[in-house]
Symmetry: C2
Subunit: 237 residues, 2 copies
Protein backbone atom coordinates (compact mmCIF):
# COMPACT_ATOMS: atom_id res chain seq x y z
CA UNK A 1 0.00 0.00 0.00
CA UNK A 2 1.54 3.27 -1.10
CA UNK A 3 0.45 6.80 -0.37
CA UNK A 4 -0.60 7.03 -4.02
CA UNK A 5 -3.62 4.94 -3.14
CA UNK A 6 -5.14 8.00 -1.60
CA UNK A 7 -6.75 10.48 -3.94
CA UNK A 8 -5.04 13.77 -4.56
CA UNK A 9 -8.39 15.44 -5.21
CA UNK A 10 -10.87 13.17 -3.43
CA UNK A 11 -14.05 14.52 -1.88
CA UNK A 12 -12.27 14.00 1.42
CA UNK A 13 -9.49 16.41 0.55
CA UNK A 14 -11.88 19.31 1.01
CA UNK A 15 -13.92 18.04 3.95
CA UNK A 16 -11.77 16.84 6.80
CA UNK A 17 -14.66 15.48 8.85
CA UNK A 18 -14.60 11.75 9.59
CA UNK A 19 -16.12 9.26 7.21
CA UNK A 20 -19.63 8.04 7.81
CA UNK A 21 -21.42 4.92 6.67
CA UNK A 22 -23.97 7.02 4.77
CA UNK A 23 -21.24 8.97 3.02
CA UNK A 24 -19.61 5.75 1.84
CA UNK A 25 -22.88 4.35 0.52
CA UNK A 26 -23.60 7.59 -1.32
CA UNK A 27 -20.14 7.58 -2.85
CA UNK A 28 -20.47 3.94 -3.85
CA UNK A 29 -23.81 4.60 -5.56
CA UNK A 30 -22.39 7.52 -7.50
CA UNK A 31 -19.33 5.46 -8.36
CA UNK A 32 -21.36 2.57 -9.75
CA UNK A 33 -23.60 4.92 -11.69
CA UNK A 34 -20.63 6.59 -13.32
CA UNK A 35 -18.10 3.85 -13.76
CA UNK A 36 -20.02 0.58 -13.60
CA UNK A 37 -20.32 -2.32 -11.21
CA UNK A 38 -17.08 -4.01 -12.21
CA UNK A 39 -15.08 -0.83 -11.63
CA UNK A 40 -16.23 -0.65 -8.03
CA UNK A 41 -13.45 -1.99 -5.85
CA UNK A 42 -12.87 -1.19 -2.24
CA UNK A 43 -9.53 0.27 -3.23
CA UNK A 44 -10.91 2.52 -5.95
CA UNK A 45 -13.76 3.71 -3.76
CA UNK A 46 -11.33 4.46 -0.93
CA UNK A 47 -9.20 6.49 -3.30
CA UNK A 48 -12.29 8.44 -4.37
CA UNK A 49 -12.92 9.22 -0.71
CA UNK A 50 -9.30 10.12 -0.02
CA UNK A 51 -8.90 7.37 2.53
CA UNK A 52 -7.11 4.05 2.93
CA UNK A 53 -9.10 1.04 1.65
CA UNK A 54 -9.16 -0.59 5.05
CA UNK A 55 -10.91 2.41 6.55
CA UNK A 56 -14.06 1.43 4.66
CA UNK A 57 -14.23 -1.91 6.41
CA UNK A 58 -14.69 -0.28 9.76
CA UNK A 59 -17.88 1.41 8.52
CA UNK A 60 -19.51 -0.99 6.12
CA UNK A 61 -18.21 -4.40 7.09
CA UNK A 62 -17.57 -5.98 3.75
CA UNK A 63 -17.95 -5.31 0.05
CA UNK A 64 -21.03 -7.54 -0.19
CA UNK A 65 -22.68 -5.67 2.67
CA UNK A 66 -21.84 -2.36 1.05
CA UNK A 67 -23.43 -3.43 -2.23
CA UNK A 68 -26.51 -4.62 -0.44
CA UNK A 69 -26.85 -1.25 1.30
CA UNK A 70 -26.32 0.57 -1.99
CA UNK A 71 -29.01 -1.39 -3.82
CA UNK A 72 -31.42 -0.74 -0.95
CA UNK A 73 -31.18 2.95 -1.81
CA UNK A 74 -33.14 2.31 -4.98
CA UNK A 75 -36.26 1.41 -3.03
CA UNK A 76 -36.13 4.69 -1.16
CA UNK A 77 -36.29 6.50 -4.47
CA UNK A 78 -39.59 4.99 -5.54
CA UNK A 79 -42.20 7.73 -5.45
CA UNK A 80 -45.72 6.45 -4.95
CA UNK A 81 -49.12 8.14 -4.99
CA UNK A 82 -51.03 7.87 -1.76
CA UNK A 83 -53.27 4.86 -1.38
CA UNK A 84 -56.85 5.74 -2.15
CA UNK A 85 -56.02 8.44 -4.66
CA UNK A 86 -56.41 6.04 -7.55
CA UNK A 87 -58.41 2.91 -8.33
CA UNK A 88 -56.45 -0.18 -7.35
CA UNK A 89 -55.52 -1.20 -10.88
CA UNK A 90 -54.25 2.24 -11.85
CA UNK A 91 -52.36 2.47 -8.57
CA UNK A 92 -50.60 -0.85 -9.13
CA UNK A 93 -49.64 0.10 -12.67
CA UNK A 94 -48.29 3.38 -11.36
CA UNK A 95 -46.29 1.59 -8.69
CA UNK A 96 -44.81 -0.77 -11.27
CA UNK A 97 -43.79 2.07 -13.57
CA UNK A 98 -42.24 3.99 -10.68
CA UNK A 99 -40.23 0.95 -9.62
CA UNK A 100 -39.01 0.48 -13.17
CA UNK A 101 -38.09 4.14 -13.42
CA UNK A 102 -36.11 3.96 -10.18
CA UNK A 103 -34.09 0.99 -11.42
CA UNK A 104 -33.56 2.63 -14.81
CA UNK A 105 -31.97 5.56 -12.98
CA UNK A 106 -29.29 3.14 -11.75
CA UNK A 107 -29.05 0.48 -14.47
CA UNK A 108 -25.63 -0.70 -13.29
CA UNK A 109 -27.23 -1.88 -10.07
CA UNK A 110 -29.89 -3.98 -11.79
CA UNK A 111 -27.86 -7.20 -11.50
CA UNK A 112 -27.66 -6.72 -7.74
CA UNK A 113 -31.32 -5.82 -7.28
CA UNK A 114 -32.33 -8.78 -9.41
CA UNK A 115 -30.16 -11.47 -7.94
CA UNK A 116 -29.50 -10.63 -4.31
CA UNK A 117 -32.01 -11.19 -1.57
CA UNK A 118 -33.47 -7.92 -0.30
CA UNK A 119 -33.16 -7.91 3.46
CA UNK A 120 -33.68 -4.31 4.36
CA UNK A 121 -36.46 -2.38 5.98
CA UNK A 122 -36.13 0.46 3.49
CA UNK A 123 -38.55 -1.40 1.23
CA UNK A 124 -41.16 -1.83 3.96
CA UNK A 125 -43.14 1.37 3.21
CA UNK A 126 -43.53 0.15 -0.36
CA UNK A 127 -44.65 -3.28 0.81
CA UNK A 128 -47.19 -1.73 3.19
CA UNK A 129 -48.85 0.36 0.53
CA UNK A 130 -49.05 -2.45 -1.99
CA UNK A 131 -50.83 -4.57 0.60
CA UNK A 132 -53.23 -1.75 1.42
CA UNK A 133 -54.16 -1.44 -2.24
CA UNK A 134 -54.51 -5.19 -2.74
CA UNK A 135 -56.80 -5.40 0.29
CA UNK A 136 -58.74 -2.49 -1.13
CA UNK A 137 -59.24 -4.51 -4.29
CA UNK A 138 -60.84 -7.24 -2.21
CA UNK A 139 -57.91 -9.62 -1.84
CA UNK A 140 -56.95 -11.47 1.34
CA UNK A 141 -55.01 -14.47 2.56
CA UNK A 142 -53.13 -16.73 0.18
CA UNK A 143 -54.62 -15.00 -2.82
CA UNK A 144 -53.29 -11.65 -1.66
CA UNK A 145 -49.86 -13.17 -1.11
CA UNK A 146 -49.70 -14.67 -4.58
CA UNK A 147 -50.88 -11.55 -6.34
CA UNK A 148 -48.33 -9.55 -4.37
CA UNK A 149 -45.55 -11.93 -5.39
CA UNK A 150 -46.76 -11.94 -8.97
CA UNK A 151 -46.53 -8.17 -9.22
CA UNK A 152 -43.31 -7.53 -7.32
CA UNK A 153 -41.55 -10.51 -8.88
CA UNK A 154 -42.66 -9.44 -12.32
CA UNK A 155 -41.54 -5.85 -11.99
CA UNK A 156 -38.16 -6.41 -10.37
CA UNK A 157 -37.39 -9.51 -12.42
CA UNK A 158 -38.54 -8.22 -15.78
CA UNK A 159 -36.61 -4.98 -15.44
CA UNK A 160 -33.49 -6.82 -14.32
CA UNK A 161 -33.66 -8.84 -17.52
CA UNK A 162 -34.39 -5.75 -19.58
CA UNK A 163 -31.23 -4.10 -18.27
CA UNK A 164 -29.00 -7.12 -18.82
CA UNK A 165 -25.27 -6.58 -19.10
CA UNK A 166 -23.85 -6.70 -22.60
CA UNK A 167 -20.86 -8.96 -23.30
CA UNK A 168 -17.51 -7.20 -22.92
CA UNK A 169 -15.78 -6.01 -26.05
CA UNK A 170 -13.64 -9.14 -26.22
CA UNK A 171 -14.77 -9.75 -29.77
CA UNK A 172 -15.49 -6.40 -31.27
CA UNK A 173 -18.04 -7.26 -33.93
CA UNK A 174 -20.19 -9.55 -31.81
CA UNK A 175 -23.32 -7.49 -32.37
CA UNK A 176 -23.00 -7.68 -36.12
CA UNK A 177 -22.11 -11.36 -35.86
CA UNK A 178 -25.22 -12.16 -33.87
CA UNK A 179 -27.42 -10.05 -36.14
CA UNK A 180 -26.01 -11.87 -39.14
CA UNK A 181 -26.54 -15.26 -37.51
CA UNK A 182 -30.18 -14.40 -36.96
CA UNK A 183 -30.67 -13.14 -40.49
CA UNK A 184 -29.14 -16.27 -42.01
CA UNK A 185 -31.27 -18.66 -39.98
CA UNK A 186 -32.73 -21.62 -41.90
CA UNK A 187 -36.28 -20.72 -42.85
CA UNK A 188 -37.24 -24.34 -43.14
CA UNK A 189 -36.12 -25.16 -39.63
CA UNK A 190 -37.38 -21.87 -38.16
CA UNK A 191 -40.25 -20.67 -40.33
CA UNK A 192 -42.09 -18.68 -37.68
CA UNK A 193 -39.03 -16.83 -36.43
CA UNK A 194 -37.64 -16.02 -39.87
CA UNK A 195 -41.07 -14.85 -40.96
CA UNK A 196 -41.17 -12.46 -37.99
CA UNK A 197 -37.49 -11.57 -37.96
CA UNK A 198 -37.89 -7.88 -38.67
CA UNK A 199 -40.27 -7.73 -35.73
CA UNK A 200 -38.08 -9.72 -33.36
CA UNK A 201 -34.55 -8.69 -34.28
CA UNK A 202 -33.14 -6.52 -31.49
CA UNK A 203 -36.63 -6.09 -30.08
CA UNK A 204 -37.21 -9.31 -28.18
CA UNK A 205 -35.53 -11.20 -25.35
CA UNK A 206 -33.04 -13.72 -26.78
CA UNK A 207 -33.06 -12.13 -30.22
CA UNK A 208 -31.74 -8.70 -29.23
CA UNK A 209 -28.17 -7.47 -29.05
CA UNK A 210 -28.67 -4.11 -27.39
CA UNK A 211 -29.37 -4.04 -23.67
CA UNK A 212 -32.37 -2.15 -22.34
CA UNK A 213 -29.84 0.39 -21.12
CA UNK A 214 -29.32 1.55 -24.68
CA UNK A 215 -32.70 0.48 -26.03
CA UNK A 216 -35.44 0.56 -23.37
CA UNK A 217 -38.36 -1.79 -23.91
CA UNK A 218 -41.09 0.62 -22.79
CA UNK A 219 -43.87 -0.66 -25.00
CA UNK A 220 -43.30 -4.28 -24.05
CA UNK A 221 -43.18 -3.42 -20.37
CA UNK A 222 -46.43 -1.52 -20.50
CA UNK A 223 -48.04 -4.35 -22.42
CA UNK A 224 -46.82 -6.95 -19.93
CA UNK A 225 -48.01 -4.86 -17.03
CA UNK A 226 -51.38 -4.46 -18.66
CA UNK A 227 -51.71 -8.22 -19.20
CA UNK A 228 -50.88 -8.93 -15.58
CA UNK A 229 -53.32 -6.37 -14.21
CA UNK A 230 -55.99 -7.67 -16.57
CA UNK A 231 -55.33 -11.12 -15.17
CA UNK A 232 -55.78 -9.87 -11.63
CA UNK A 233 -58.98 -8.12 -12.62
CA UNK A 234 -60.34 -11.28 -14.21
CA UNK A 235 -59.45 -13.35 -11.15
CA UNK A 236 -61.42 -11.02 -8.88
CA UNK A 237 -64.74 -12.22 -10.25
Amino acid sequence: MTAGDRASRGARQASRDPLSREQIIDAALAFVDERGLDALTMRALAQELGVYPTALYWHVGTKAQLLSAVSARIFEEVALPGAGELPWDAWLAMMARQCRAAIHRHPNLAPIVGSHLVVTTTAIPLVERVIVVLEGAGLAGEELLHVYNSLIGFVLGWVTLELSIEPADAEEGWKDDFARQLRSLDEVAFPALTRNMSLMANNAFMTRWDSGRAKPMDRSFDAALDLLVRGVRASLR
Copy 2:
Protein backbone atom coordinates in the same frame (compact mmCIF):
# COMPACT_ATOMS: atom_id res chain seq x y z
CA MET B 1 2.62 -20.42 -10.83
CA THR B 2 3.73 -23.60 -9.18
CA ALA B 3 3.18 -27.19 -10.25
CA GLY B 4 0.76 -27.50 -7.35
CA ASP B 5 -1.74 -25.52 -9.38
CA ARG B 6 -2.39 -28.62 -11.39
CA ALA B 7 -4.71 -31.19 -9.90
CA SER B 8 -3.27 -34.39 -8.58
CA ARG B 9 -6.52 -36.21 -9.31
CA GLY B 10 -8.17 -34.04 -11.96
CA ALA B 11 -10.38 -35.54 -14.64
CA ARG B 12 -7.47 -34.92 -16.95
CA GLN B 13 -5.15 -37.20 -15.03
CA ALA B 14 -7.05 -40.18 -16.40
CA SER B 15 -7.83 -38.96 -19.90
CA ARG B 16 -4.77 -37.67 -21.66
CA ASP B 17 -6.64 -36.43 -24.72
CA PRO B 18 -6.44 -32.72 -25.42
CA LEU B 19 -8.89 -30.30 -23.87
CA SER B 20 -11.91 -29.21 -25.82
CA ARG B 21 -14.12 -26.19 -25.52
CA GLU B 22 -17.13 -28.39 -24.78
CA GLN B 23 -15.25 -30.24 -22.07
CA ILE B 24 -14.34 -26.98 -20.37
CA ILE B 25 -17.93 -25.71 -20.48
CA ASP B 26 -19.19 -29.01 -19.05
CA ALA B 27 -16.64 -28.86 -16.27
CA ALA B 28 -17.49 -25.24 -15.51
CA LEU B 29 -21.20 -26.04 -15.26
CA ALA B 30 -20.56 -28.92 -12.89
CA PHE B 31 -18.18 -26.75 -10.90
CA VAL B 32 -20.71 -23.95 -10.47
CA ASP B 33 -23.46 -26.41 -9.56
CA GLU B 34 -21.32 -27.97 -6.86
CA ARG B 35 -19.27 -25.15 -5.46
CA GLY B 36 -21.09 -21.95 -6.41
CA LEU B 37 -20.52 -19.05 -8.75
CA ASP B 38 -18.02 -17.26 -6.53
CA ALA B 39 -15.84 -20.34 -6.24
CA LEU B 40 -15.44 -20.53 -10.01
CA THR B 41 -12.08 -19.06 -10.91
CA MET B 42 -10.07 -19.80 -14.00
CA ARG B 43 -7.36 -21.17 -11.76
CA ALA B 44 -9.60 -23.48 -9.78
CA LEU B 45 -11.29 -24.76 -12.92
CA ALA B 46 -7.92 -25.39 -14.53
CA GLN B 47 -6.84 -27.35 -11.51
CA GLU B 48 -10.01 -29.43 -11.72
CA LEU B 49 -9.10 -30.22 -15.33
CA GLY B 50 -5.47 -30.95 -14.51
CA VAL B 51 -4.20 -28.17 -16.70
CA TYR B 52 -2.52 -24.78 -16.40
CA PRO B 53 -4.96 -21.86 -16.04
CA THR B 54 -3.73 -20.22 -19.18
CA ALA B 55 -4.63 -23.28 -21.24
CA LEU B 56 -8.31 -22.42 -20.76
CA TYR B 57 -7.88 -19.08 -22.47
CA TRP B 58 -6.90 -20.72 -25.72
CA HIS B 59 -10.27 -22.53 -25.84
CA VAL B 60 -12.81 -20.20 -24.29
CA GLY B 61 -11.37 -16.74 -24.69
CA THR B 62 -12.18 -15.17 -21.39
CA LYS B 63 -13.98 -15.88 -18.15
CA ALA B 64 -16.97 -13.77 -19.16
CA GLN B 65 -17.26 -15.67 -22.44
CA LEU B 66 -17.02 -18.95 -20.60
CA LEU B 67 -19.82 -17.98 -18.22
CA SER B 68 -21.97 -16.89 -21.11
CA ALA B 69 -21.47 -20.25 -22.81
CA VAL B 70 -22.22 -22.08 -19.58
CA SER B 71 -25.48 -20.24 -18.99
CA ALA B 72 -26.53 -20.95 -22.56
CA ARG B 73 -26.51 -24.64 -21.65
CA ILE B 74 -29.60 -24.08 -19.54
CA PHE B 75 -31.71 -23.28 -22.58
CA GLU B 76 -30.72 -26.56 -24.22
CA GLU B 77 -32.13 -28.38 -21.24
CA VAL B 78 -35.64 -26.98 -21.60
CA ALA B 79 -37.88 -29.84 -22.71
CA LEU B 80 -40.98 -28.69 -24.58
CA PRO B 81 -44.03 -30.48 -25.91
CA GLY B 82 -44.49 -30.25 -29.67
CA ALA B 83 -46.48 -27.31 -30.92
CA GLY B 84 -50.05 -28.32 -31.63
CA GLU B 85 -50.18 -31.01 -28.98
CA LEU B 86 -51.78 -28.66 -26.51
CA PRO B 87 -54.05 -25.63 -26.63
CA TRP B 88 -51.98 -22.44 -26.77
CA ASP B 89 -52.57 -21.42 -23.16
CA ALA B 90 -51.69 -24.82 -21.75
CA TRP B 91 -48.61 -24.96 -23.97
CA LEU B 92 -47.36 -21.58 -22.78
CA ALA B 93 -47.88 -22.52 -19.13
CA MET B 94 -45.99 -25.75 -19.77
CA MET B 95 -43.15 -23.87 -21.43
CA ALA B 96 -42.92 -21.48 -18.49
CA ARG B 97 -42.81 -24.29 -15.96
CA GLN B 98 -40.16 -26.14 -17.95
CA CYS B 99 -38.00 -23.02 -18.14
CA ARG B 100 -38.33 -22.52 -14.42
CA ALA B 101 -37.45 -26.17 -13.79
CA ALA B 102 -34.34 -25.89 -15.95
CA ILE B 103 -33.10 -22.85 -14.05
CA HIS B 104 -33.91 -24.49 -10.73
CA ARG B 105 -31.61 -27.35 -11.72
CA HIS B 106 -28.75 -24.83 -11.80
CA PRO B 107 -29.71 -22.19 -9.24
CA ASN B 108 -26.16 -20.87 -8.95
CA LEU B 109 -26.38 -19.72 -12.55
CA ALA B 110 -29.57 -17.75 -12.06
CA PRO B 111 -27.71 -14.44 -11.53
CA ILE B 112 -26.01 -14.89 -14.90
CA VAL B 113 -29.14 -15.91 -16.78
CA GLY B 114 -31.02 -13.03 -15.26
CA SER B 115 -28.55 -10.25 -15.74
CA HIS B 116 -26.46 -11.02 -18.80
CA LEU B 117 -27.68 -10.53 -22.32
CA VAL B 118 -28.39 -13.85 -24.03
CA VAL B 119 -26.59 -13.81 -27.36
CA THR B 120 -26.57 -17.42 -28.38
CA THR B 121 -28.42 -19.44 -30.97
CA THR B 122 -29.01 -22.29 -28.53
CA ALA B 123 -32.18 -20.54 -27.44
CA ILE B 124 -33.50 -20.18 -30.99
CA PRO B 125 -35.50 -23.44 -31.07
CA LEU B 126 -37.32 -22.27 -27.96
CA VAL B 127 -38.01 -18.88 -29.51
CA GLU B 128 -39.32 -20.49 -32.70
CA ARG B 129 -41.83 -22.67 -30.91
CA VAL B 130 -43.13 -19.88 -28.71
CA ILE B 131 -43.80 -17.79 -31.82
CA VAL B 132 -45.55 -20.70 -33.50
CA VAL B 133 -47.86 -21.07 -30.53
CA LEU B 134 -48.54 -17.34 -30.24
CA GLU B 135 -49.41 -17.18 -33.93
CA GLY B 136 -51.66 -20.17 -33.41
CA ALA B 137 -53.46 -18.20 -30.72
CA GLY B 138 -54.17 -15.50 -33.27
CA LEU B 139 -51.44 -13.01 -32.48
CA ALA B 140 -49.36 -11.12 -35.00
CA GLY B 141 -47.19 -8.04 -35.36
CA GLU B 142 -46.51 -5.73 -32.46
CA GLU B 143 -49.01 -7.52 -30.29
CA LEU B 144 -47.20 -10.82 -30.79
CA LEU B 145 -43.89 -9.17 -29.92
CA HIS B 146 -45.20 -7.69 -26.71
CA VAL B 147 -46.87 -10.87 -25.53
CA TYR B 148 -43.67 -12.78 -26.30
CA ASN B 149 -41.62 -10.30 -24.27
CA SER B 150 -44.17 -10.37 -21.47
CA LEU B 151 -43.92 -14.12 -21.12
CA ILE B 152 -40.20 -14.63 -21.57
CA GLY B 153 -39.31 -11.61 -19.46
CA PHE B 154 -41.67 -12.73 -16.74
CA VAL B 155 -40.39 -16.29 -16.56
CA LEU B 156 -36.67 -15.59 -16.69
CA GLY B 157 -36.89 -12.49 -14.53
CA TRP B 158 -39.24 -13.84 -11.90
CA VAL B 159 -37.22 -17.00 -11.42
CA THR B 160 -33.99 -15.03 -11.19
CA LEU B 161 -35.51 -13.06 -8.36
CA GLU B 162 -36.90 -16.19 -6.74
CA LEU B 163 -33.40 -17.71 -6.65
CA SER B 164 -31.69 -14.62 -5.27
CA ILE B 165 -28.38 -15.02 -3.52
CA GLU B 166 -28.48 -14.87 0.26
CA PRO B 167 -26.11 -12.51 2.06
CA ALA B 168 -22.84 -14.14 3.08
CA ASP B 169 -22.46 -15.25 6.64
CA ALA B 170 -20.69 -12.05 7.64
CA GLU B 171 -23.15 -11.53 10.43
CA GLU B 172 -24.30 -14.93 11.53
CA GLY B 173 -27.72 -14.20 12.95
CA TRP B 174 -28.91 -11.95 10.13
CA LYS B 175 -31.94 -14.13 9.40
CA ASP B 176 -33.15 -13.96 12.97
CA ASP B 177 -32.38 -10.26 13.05
CA PHE B 178 -34.45 -9.56 9.98
CA ALA B 179 -37.29 -11.75 11.18
CA ARG B 180 -37.27 -9.90 14.49
CA GLN B 181 -37.22 -6.52 12.75
CA LEU B 182 -40.31 -7.52 10.80
CA ARG B 183 -42.11 -8.81 13.84
CA SER B 184 -41.44 -5.64 15.80
CA LEU B 185 -42.67 -3.30 13.10
CA ASP B 186 -44.88 -0.44 14.25
CA GLU B 187 -48.48 -1.46 13.70
CA VAL B 188 -49.61 2.13 13.55
CA ALA B 189 -47.20 3.00 10.78
CA PHE B 190 -47.65 -0.32 8.96
CA PRO B 191 -51.10 -1.64 9.81
CA ALA B 192 -51.65 -3.67 6.66
CA LEU B 193 -48.29 -5.41 6.75
CA THR B 194 -48.36 -6.18 10.47
CA ARG B 195 -51.91 -7.48 10.09
CA ASN B 196 -50.72 -9.84 7.36
CA MET B 197 -47.31 -10.63 8.79
CA SER B 198 -47.84 -14.33 9.33
CA LEU B 199 -48.82 -14.54 5.69
CA MET B 200 -45.95 -12.45 4.37
CA ALA B 201 -43.04 -13.37 6.63
CA ASN B 202 -40.54 -15.46 4.67
CA ASN B 203 -43.16 -16.00 1.96
CA ALA B 204 -43.04 -12.79 -0.04
CA PHE B 205 -40.45 -10.81 -1.95
CA MET B 206 -38.82 -8.22 0.32
CA THR B 207 -40.17 -9.83 3.48
CA ARG B 208 -38.45 -13.22 3.14
CA TRP B 209 -35.06 -14.31 4.43
CA ASP B 210 -34.73 -17.68 2.71
CA SER B 211 -33.87 -17.75 -0.96
CA GLY B 212 -36.01 -19.73 -3.38
CA ARG B 213 -33.13 -22.18 -3.46
CA ALA B 214 -34.04 -23.35 0.03
CA LYS B 215 -37.71 -22.39 -0.12
CA PRO B 216 -39.15 -22.56 -3.64
CA MET B 217 -42.12 -20.31 -4.34
CA ASP B 218 -44.08 -22.81 -6.44
CA ARG B 219 -47.57 -21.64 -5.55
CA SER B 220 -46.80 -18.00 -6.21
CA PHE B 221 -45.16 -18.82 -9.53
CA ASP B 222 -48.12 -20.85 -10.70
CA ALA B 223 -50.46 -18.09 -9.62
CA ALA B 224 -48.44 -15.43 -11.42
CA LEU B 225 -48.30 -17.54 -14.54
CA ASP B 226 -52.04 -18.07 -14.39
CA LEU B 227 -52.68 -14.33 -14.06
CA LEU B 228 -50.49 -13.57 -17.05
CA VAL B 229 -52.09 -16.20 -19.27
CA ARG B 230 -55.52 -15.00 -18.17
CA GLY B 231 -54.49 -11.53 -19.23
CA VAL B 232 -53.42 -12.76 -22.65
CA ARG B 233 -56.68 -14.63 -23.02
CA ALA B 234 -58.67 -11.53 -22.12
CA SER B 235 -56.70 -9.42 -24.59
CA LEU B 236 -57.49 -11.78 -27.46
CA ARG B 237 -61.09 -10.67 -27.57
